[in-house]
């Protein structure tokens, strides 16, 4: 690891007296960045802090008198059920990071280390588990892994035993790891691909090979990406309620909050207390992740031709690697195989496979689904685009400027991961329903753009982690060089920083897009007209009836295909950039 020194921002400093002076000084030096930071702060305040505060303030109210109190938080810690839930959430999140790491390490390593036919395909398929369409994904999972799912029915018939894949906390860990490991895979791959090859060569020259090379050089250099991915898995699992609800595990924090917030006509403040606890704990774990990479410098100077040296595999190695990867993909993609079967199946009940196959569900879906598809592309695409723009800006402000309080942006943006979708949506309705937009002529809360804003806010943490990790790997000396050569700050960002961050930005875009495309909890509250509804909402509508399971699954398959294609295209884009850069470099080296 090279020590370039200057890039690490100074840590804690005097807050009180020096602050004003700092602000003025910072303003003079970095007017543009400061304005940008203020604009982002205003956006986050308007669409995250204010709406959420509108909803969760009841956590701080005495329900009897309406006065400010912390007694609700005391109740939280006094209740054994909540303590148990807290412990369970922590345990499940930690174990999910471990299992997800075991799944994603080989996938990331083999595809970025060796010359592999179809590496792009594998990395694309590896993203698919993130796209678990609501409701249908859950049913598909049950049909495959459930107590009476295909695997257990087969096991029971031939071996006379069954495996409780989907029972209790271990079931949650399994499903969460399968669902969220792509966070690690994507971010780790992005990191591996930007490692300075000369460092690896130097290590090899000094005699490091195989595992030692990986353990001492490669993995440490890829740390920012790994930590970003692992932190996301941890946060997401900690705050996720879909899977616990699917497995009917209620003794975890997120489902406890959700169940209490969303029951009819009741306003139990404990639901909001738990939401506040989720936000606080998420920030805490983010801070721990920050500590893990602080004080080290991951930046390397050489870019472009970077990435690990790829070598060819010997035939038997190749067979082994393919075998391992196929096995992993088979396991993590089995819910999608179940989804595919459901979408073509007639009746599938207590049997290994559906009773028969039909195209009727797709026919039904294609007559109704086009608006859903275009809406989804529009919403998820815009949201992911805003996300990477915001994330790049925040990452730059945090790591490259000395604006006081700049870390606040990072923390606020990431805290969004802990805000339950239903809380954000209620907050929007409460804050913006009376605000009629001039020119649009309807309340902001019922305009389709509010759905895009909600998705942007909810998926910002993903993009933020990816972009921060990417920037961490770029040496500030490159920018200094550009500025010495006369480039302005904006010019430097545009011509140097953003291109070098391309891998990380693409990773952020893909995760934000993929997950936004199947988001339901906030959109279901915010959709105010059928014409504005996205795919996830269409799936929800179908999955309300016995007859709708097939068409719902067909819509789910469409969602997976859309996201799969988008992912593949962005991988292609990044890959082409890399090859182009490598070509440029070679030509430059040859003095052409």
């Amino acid at each position: 690891m090279s020590a370039t020194g200057t890039s690490a921002p100074a840590g804690g400093r005097g807050v009180t007296g020096g602050l004003l002076r700092d602000v003025i000084a910072a303003w003079r030096q970095q007017k543009g960045a400061a304005l940008l930071a203020l604009a982002i702060f205003a956006f986050l305040t308007l669409f995250l802090i204010l709406p959420v505060a509108q909803v969760v303030y009841v956590a701080f109210l005495d329900a009897n008198t309406g006065a400010f109190t912390l007694v609700n938080f005391l109740d939280f810690f006094r209740t054994p059920l909540f303590r148990e839930s807290f412990y369970n959430s922590f345990y499940v999140s930690f174990m999910s990071v471990v299992v997800a790491t075991i799944i994603s390490l080989p996938l990331a390593y083999f595809t970025s280390r060796f010359n592999f036919a179809g590496a792009t395909l594998i990395q694309t398929l590896g993203v698919l588990p993130l796209i678990m369409p609501p409701f249908v994904g859950a049913v598909a999972m049950q049909m495959i892994f459930g107590a009476n799912g295909s695997i257990n029915l087969l096991l029971d018939e031939y071996f006379g035993f069954t495996i409780p894949f989907m029972e209790g906390l271990n079931g949650v860990i399994l499903v969460q790891s399968i669902h969220y490991f792509p966070f690690i895979l994507i971010n780790l791959s992005a990191s591996l691909n930007t490692i300075d090859r000369s460092l690896e060569e130097a290590a090899q020259n000094l005699g490091a090979h195989g595992m030692r090379l990986f353990r001492r050089i490669v993995f440490p250099l890829a740390m920012p990406g790994y930590v970003a991915g692992a932190a996301l898995v941890f946060l997401k699992v900690f705050d996720d309620l879909g899977t616990p609800l699917l497995l009917n595990v209620n003794t975890m924090l997120a489902p406890q909050a959700y169940l209490r917030i969303s029951s009819i006509g009741i306003s139990d403040p404990m639901g909001y207390v738990i939401s506040v606890m989720l936000v606080v704990f998420s920030l805490l774990s983010l801070w721990v992740a920050h500590l893990a990479t602080r004080g080290r410098d991951y930046a390397s100077v050489q870019k472009g031709g970077g990435g690990l040296l790829r070598r060819d595999l010997r035939p038997w190695e190749r067979a082994g690697a393919y075998g391992l990867i196929l096995l992993i993909l088979l396991v993590v993609l089995s819910p999608h195989i179940g989804l595919l079967l459901m979408s073509f199946g007639t009746i599938w009940s207590f049997s290994v496979l559906p009773d028969g196959f039909t195209l009727a569900h797709y026919k039904e879906v294609f007559t109704t689904a086009m608006p859903y598809i275009t809406n989804t592309l529009l919403y998820a695409g815009l949201a992911a685009l805003f996300d990477v723009m915001l994330a790049t800006a925040i990452a730059y402000i945090v790591q490259r400027t000395r604006l006081p309080g700049r870390h606040v942006l990072d923390y606020i943006g990431t805290a969004a991961v802990a805000v339950p979708g239903v809380v954000l949506a209620i907050g929007y309705l409460r804050t913006y329903h009376d605000f009629v937009l001039p020119g649009v002529d309807k309340p902001l809360a019922t305009w389709w753009v509010i759905i895009v804003v909600a998705l942007t806010i909810r998926r910002l943490p993903y993009a933020l982690r990816a972009c921060s990790a990417a920037l961490q790997q770029i040496s500030v000396t490159l920018e200094e060089a550009a500025q010495n050569l006369g480039a302005g700050r904006f010019e430097t960002v545009r011509r140097i920083v953003v291109p070098l961050m391309a891998g990380g930005i693409a990773a952020g875009f893909v995760t934000a897009f993929a997950t936004a495309a199947v988001e339901l909890s906030a959109t279901i509250m915010l959709v105010s007209s059928e014409a504005d509804a996205p795919l996830a909402y269409g799936i929800y509508v179908y999955m309300q009836t016995a007859a709708g399971r097939g068409p719902g699954a067909a819509l789910g398959v469409l969602a997976v295909i859309i996201v799969g294609v988008a992912t593949w295209l962005s991988h292609r884009f990044v890959e082409r950039q890399r090859t182009q850069a490598a070509l440029d470099e070679r030509m430059a080296a040859q003095g052409v």
């Binding site: 009897n64 059920l81 049997s351 279901i524 105010s528 016995a546």
Partner: protein, 448 residues
């Protein structure tokens, strides 16, 4: 052109004096926004038929689950854009009515009785109307029962039998308005103590408590669990779709109406009125018989004609033995939800462990009777069945208000916090289940 409409026809026959002005009154707005929890199979049929009848009007069906629908109408009330709220659970309508968010409407259509079974069909204050009836019952997967060699269940009590351990699924009353009605019906039918004892005995046999009411038929259809406690049309429509399932009404059941209401300050009031009239007309009621809908119409004459295959609720063909007391149900609505969650949903594992031990001890005692062990077993059963509060307390308005939280006025005083009460209940319930398990294990050991 719109003079031909059904509503105009009714009104014209009633007031034959001024047909011209009536024709104008029947002209409706070109848009209608319906917030509904009903599935596409139901809303689509009504949307198409209504739009065919009123070609100038476009219906926007906003599908939200009941809880989200209620929240949506509450949060958007200041600038309301919805015309109609259309859902099953009467209590959701009660909540909206209590918040002053519904408009009164006098139905023009004739020939609909006041009561269905013992339940009043319409809101006595005229805010919402019943348009279809539903009863609760037991649904099962025939393949599942055959594979696991289980008998068909007939009554709620059957679901508590040891043979069904781990095979039953239901939703929680706090999650699903329809499940709430089922729970409350049994509590009223059997009485508070016996009712809860039965729910806990069934609770001990549960494979799962699903997060939404459709999770139950979905699980039975998949074969995830074999038996579910569901509302009738879930059973009927699953069967009509082709799933290997059956449905039966037990004798302790109540028939309750599914409802429709106009939202206060509706932007399209005339279209809203026309829609309600359409749903209640013979023509609209017949649409309920669509194989994918299968709800019980509220026009008795249909049961002699197209609805012959369905049980006639107006002739007592569904043994709705419980006279459902709406006031009682409303008074302790949130309290019952909370009690169910604390005792069953959140402590399912503990409850199951205790129930399993009790089943095993009972089996051991059946083959080798032992008076002393029997006493321990009875004690264990009593511990599981124990409820933290009695019926009088559940109906005490001061106590129930702890679970309501919404103070109407600043001066309203409530003592105690829900979290505090739940915590006490939880401690008691957990200790009881643990002790019951220990006693039952001891009884089993003695019998062996």
């Amino acid at each position: 052109m719109l003079a031909r409409t059904f509503m105009a026809a009714i009104m014209a026959s009633a007031v034959a004096l001024l047909p011209v002005s009536i024709a104008k009154a029947a002209e409706i707005e070109n848009k209608l926004v319906v917030v509904t929890s009903f599935p596409k199979d139901l809303t689509g049929v009504f949307k198409r038929a209504f739009e065919a009848k009123y070609p100038g009007t476009k219906v926007d069906m906003l599908k939200k689950k009941t809880t989200a629908g209620v929240k949506y109408i509450q949060e958007t009330a200041s600038n309301n854009t919805s015309d109609i709220f259309w859902a099953s659970a009467p209590d959701a309508f009660e909540v909206l009515k209590g918040d002053g968010l519904l408009a009164q409407y006098q139905v023009q259509a004739k020939g609909i009785p006041e009561k269905i079974g013992a339940f009043p069909l319409n809101d006595p204050d005229g805010y919402y109307k019943g348009f279809a009836a539903s009863g609760y019952g037991i649904m099962w997967n025939t393949r599942y029962l055959k594979a696991k060699k289980l008998p068909e269940p007939k009554e709620w009590e059957d679901l508590a039998k040891p043979v069904y351990f781990g095979h039953v699924g239901m939703s929680a009353p706090s999650r699903s308005g329809t499940t709430h009605l089922t729970v409350e019906t049994v509590l009223q039918g059997l009485g508070w103590e016996k009712g809860w004892a039965l729910w806990k005995a069934i609770g001990g046999n549960l494979k799962t408590v699903t997060e939404r009411s459709f999770g139950v038929p979905s699980g039975v259809n998949s074969g995830e669990f074999g038996i579910g406690i569901v509302i009738d049309f879930f059973g009927f429509s699953s069967k009509a779709t082709g799933y290997p399932v059956e449905f039966r009404y037990p004798s302790t059941t109540a028939l309750v109406p599914a409802n429709i209401a106009i939202v206060k300050n509706a932007p399209h009031p005339k279209a809203a009125a026309a829609f309600i009239e359409f749903v209640l007309s013979p023509e609209g009621q017949k649409l309920l018989l669509d194989p994918k809908i299968q709800r019980l119409p509220v026009r008795p004459e249909l049961y002699d004609g197209p609805a012959k295959h369905l049980p006639n609720p107006f002739k007592g063909e569904i043994a709705a033995s419980v006279a459902f007391d709406v006031k009682k149900s409303k008074a302790r609505y949130n309290l019952v939800n909370s009690l169910f969650d604390v005792m069953i949903t959140y402590r399912l594992d503990d409850l199951r462990a205790a129930t399993k031990a009790i089943h095993e001890a009972a089996a051991a005692l059946a083959s080798k009777p032992n008076a002393e062990a029997q006493k321990l077993l009875d004690e264990a059963r009593a511990l599981v069945a124990a409820v933290p509060i009695d019926e009088a307390k559940s109906l005490d308005p001061a106590f129930a208000s702890i679970f309501k939280k919404k103070r109407k006025k600043k001066t309203d005083k409530v003592t105690g916090r829900q979290a505090e009460v739940e915590q006490q209940w939880d401690a008691m319930v957990k200790a009881n289940y643990e002790k019951a398990r220990a006693l039952a294990e001891k009884a089993k050991a003695m019998a062996q």
